[in-house]
């Protein structure tokens, strides 16, 4: 019998305590995975951002629109292959007012050229391009509201007052995560023709696609220089920077979740360390015996450390097994369907799972350092004399 198998056997000696400890570690790992996934899902848009797209908005306030004619000027910049524009519409579902989703008026042909990650059946695509009142709806948004291709839906405008009718012509999914599946796009012409003169021919923002992703930051600068002497100056950023700046507005929440996910690891270490310390105290007698048999302090120490790592690993494994159903099936499905605008993709990312497993073992090791040191320093005679 080698030391490792002795350590493994020791784990099972106080079964109840081991089960409780494994459960404690498992819950902590589950919570850790959940919190990291919230952060990951939230920041995924920035990480998955298309590197070859540049967004251009009004320099001072995103409320103010830009003239649509800027498009032709941006197209002149060398390296820019496509330019499209969009306006924030802010539609609300007539009965489910609190379900926020993104609705934007776009120029369909150029939009499809810039956002080439969109996938939809060719027939639906033709239908949407040709129907002025047509809407292109993301897969998860369609699921959220129970919309099907061919439905006629009425939405309330928050910025452009009144009831607006759309035909759900197409439902899209995406081949890259650089676009969420929870938006509604419709013809900018439909909007432009329906509003009063002073709000006509305005674009909320422009999106340009560049030939080389490396040129994105440079192109952003060139666009801003182009309009510097105009009344409506612009602020351009590559898509990654823009998404990151949006996330920055919630940085306080993200930091808080980040901190809490570390606190949960501390709680996990407390539980593990406590269990190991108790085990060591109870086995003082045995450790004395092992020393008397000729085992060295380092053997005793590695004994304790191994035990802690085994418990940590078991807890981490159970936690991960729980995490998949809880995070993906339960919460993930709920969030993607109901808050798809904020959590477009919610599943356990492999690196997070790996990190959780590594941490559960590593923290088991750290938690056992003090008890292991104490156990190895025991005086053989004293520990043999001690009862119980």
């Amino acid at each position: 019998m080698n030391l490792a198998s002795l350590a493994a056997r020791n784990v099972l000696r106080n079964k109840l305590r081991t089960v409780l400890t494994v459960l404690g570690v498992a819950v902590a790992i589950l919570a850790f995975v959940l919190l990291r996934t919230v952060i990951w899902s939230w920041t995924v848009s920035a990480e998955y951002a298309a590197k070859d797209r540049v967004a251009t908005r009004h320099k001072i306030t995103f409320i103010s629109p830009l003239p649509v004619r800027y498009k032709t000027q941006i197209e002149q910049i060398p390296g820019v292959t496509h330019v499209t524009w969009a306006s924030w519409f802010g539609a609300k579902h007539p009965t489910r007012e609190s379900d926020f989703f993104q609705s934007i008026a776009v120029d369909p042909p150029s939009f499809m050229a810039v956002y080439d990650e969109i996938i939809l059946p060719a027939a639906q695509r033709e239908k949407w391009l040709s129907n002025r009142q047509g809407a292109l709806v993301g897969e998860s948004l369609a699921k959220q509201f129970g919309w099907k291709v061919g439905d006629r839906v009425t939405l309330a405008g928050t910025i452009y007052p009144g009831d607006w009718q759309f035909d759900v012509d197409a439902i899209y999914t995406v081949k890259r995560s650089s676009l969420d599946k929870a938006s509604l796009m419709f013809h900018w012409d439909y909007l432009n023709d329906s509003i009063d003169a002073r709000r006509k021919d305005e674009a909320g923002w422009f999106i340009s696609r560049v030939k080389n992703a490396g040129d994105a930051a440079n192109t952003a600068k060139r666009i801003d220089t182009l309009f510097d002497d105009q009344d409506a100056q612009t602020l351009s950023m590559d898509e990654h920077a823009m998404n990151a700046s949006f996330l920055g507005m919630f940085s306080a929440v993200l930091t808080a979740i980040d901190l809490v996910s570390i606190v949960i690891l501390v709680i996990m270490m407390l539980i593990l360390g406590n269990t190991i310390a108790m085990g060591v105290r109870e086995r003082t007698n045995e450790y004395g015996m092992l020393r008397a048999l000729g085992f060295l302090p380092k053997h005793i120490a590695s004994f304790v450390l191994l035990e802690a790592m085994v418990v940590g690993l078991c807890g981490g494994g159970v936690g991960l097994l729980l995490a998949y159903p809880v995070v993906e099936q339960g919460l993930g499905r709920f969030l993607e369907e109901n808050m798809g605008a904020m959590f477009p993709y919610f599943h356990v990312d492999a690196p997070i799972a790996g990190l959780a497993l590594v941490l559960s073992v590593a923290l088991g090791l750290v938690a056992a350092i003090v008890p292991a040191y104490q156990a190895s320093k025991l005086n053989v005679v004293d520990s043999l004399r001690r009862v119980g």
């Binding site: 959940l34 306030t61 928050t158 920055g248 919630f250 306080a252 709680i267 119980g388």
Partner: protein, 392 residues
């Protein structure tokens, strides 16, 4: 038959096992700390936004708009609204109210070049201080009417590059505004805003002839229904009226709910973890004391007394942890955080605001964890067979 084991027995045994007691109590303290802090933050959001609105004030928006930001209507409607019944008049007989133009501008966060935040700019009418008496100038002077002078809410100060007293910044290309004063608004979200003259905002953003909202002070809160009925009666105008307090709680509820939901989910997980920690500690405490417990029973203490005593021990452990956590969370009161309010896209700074109910809830959670974590170990202790236990 002895029914009560003295409390001092439990206290001493907790002290005797310092290490494990501290570890478990610390775990519970962390749980209570997290719950208490998230409730304080959610309370802070409600308080900041809630105190922005007064129940005797009414705010009128374009129908269908979900906040001032998405609302615009023509200035000619202002006088119609001011003439509605119930609007209070000042000493000169002029109605207390006016149109406001609200916009958010991008400013660079101080200390982090390139990172921008959205700050709300409110174009206010000249009589705004009469309408919102809680707003007080604390530094500098009031902006002169009809000029491009502005004042800052005190939370805006120092947060953004180039936006501070005696500095000037652009609201529009080549149109600089000069900051001449700093105001306090009794902790409300107005403190996170920049106030300029309504005409300055309208012309800087090409909104001539348009306002975002009209706010009026009513003679009393009870006049609200009549006011609302008049303003909304003409469907052609497309206006919608809210009590100001109701409007602010509506636009803050999303963010407040979000923060408390996160806090509660986290607390649920944490408490399971900490409860298991407490259970492990109590099981060990019981196991080590089998002999003592057997002796206690031999002395005539009933099983129920043993059960009660072990539970009390666990509750004491949890309550001490809970107290430490709750007290520690009060220190969060010194922390201010700023985040975006979902409904208005503006950055507002919030503080952690304690209230007695929330502290009691957090403490109660600590106690409950003690009861739940300690119950099975206590039950196991009460089932000790004294003969076997004393022989061991």
């Amino acid at each position: 038959m002895l029914l009560m084991i003295p409390l001092s027995y439990n206290l001493r045994s907790l002290v005797a096992r310092k290490g494990t007691t501290l570890a478990s109590a610390f775990g519970i303290a962390l749980v209570v700390f997290v719950l208490s802090s998230s409730l304080m933050l959610s309370g802070g959001i409600k308080k900041t936004m809630g105190s922005s609105g007064r129940s005797e004030n009414a705010i009128v928006l374009r129908k269908g708009a979900d906040s001032e930001l998405s609302s615009t209507f023509e200035t000619r409607l202002i006088n119609l609204i001011l003439a509605a019944p119930g609007v209070k008049k000042d000493e000169t007989g002029a109605p207390l109210g006016g149109g406001e133009a609200v916009i958010v501008i991008a400013v660079e966060k101080a200390g982090t070049p390139g990172k921008i935040a959205n700050v709300q700019v409110r174009g206010v009418s000249d009589n705004v201080l009469k309408m919102r008496p809680e707003v007080k100038l604390i530094e500098g002077r009031l902006p002169q009417a009809g000029t491009d002078e502005v004042m800052l809410g005190k939370s805006v100060r120092g947060r953004y590059t180039g936006v501070d007293l005696n500095l000037s910044f652009e609201l529009k290309k080549n149109r600089k505004v000069q900051v001449v004063g700093i105001f306090d608004a009794g902790g409300s979200s107005f403190e996170s805003e920049i106030w300029a003259g309504v005409d300055t905002v309208k012309s800087s953003f090409g909104r001539e002839g348009l306002v975002s909202s009209v706010t009026v002070q009513l003679e009393s809160g009870s006049k609200y229904d009549a006011f609302k009925a008049t303003v909304e009666s003409d469907k052609q105008l497309g206006l919608q009226s809210f009590r100001e307090s109701e409007y602010y709680s509506k636009i803050s509820s999303g963010t407040a709910t979000f923060v408390s939901a996160i806090g509660i989910v986290i607390t649920v997980f944490f408490s399971i973890g900490a409860m298991i920690g407490a259970a492990i500690t109590m099981y060990a405490a019981v196991a080590q004391r089998r002999r003592e417990i057997g002796t206690l029973q031999a002395l005539g203490f009933t099983r129920r007394a043993v059960l009660g005593s072990m539970l009390v021990e666990s509750i004491v452990l949890a309550t001490v942890g809970g107290l430490v956590g709750a007290v520690a969370s009060l220190f969060m009161g010194f922390v201010k955080i700023s985040m975006m309010n979902f409904a208005t896209w503006q950055e507002v700074s919030f503080s952690f605001t304690p209230d007695p109910a929330q502290i009691l809830i957090s403490l109660a959670l600590g106690g409950v964890m003690g009861v739940l974590g300690g119950f099975f170990p206590a039950l196991s202790a009460s089932r000790t067979n004294p003969v076997i236990a004393m022989r061991a």
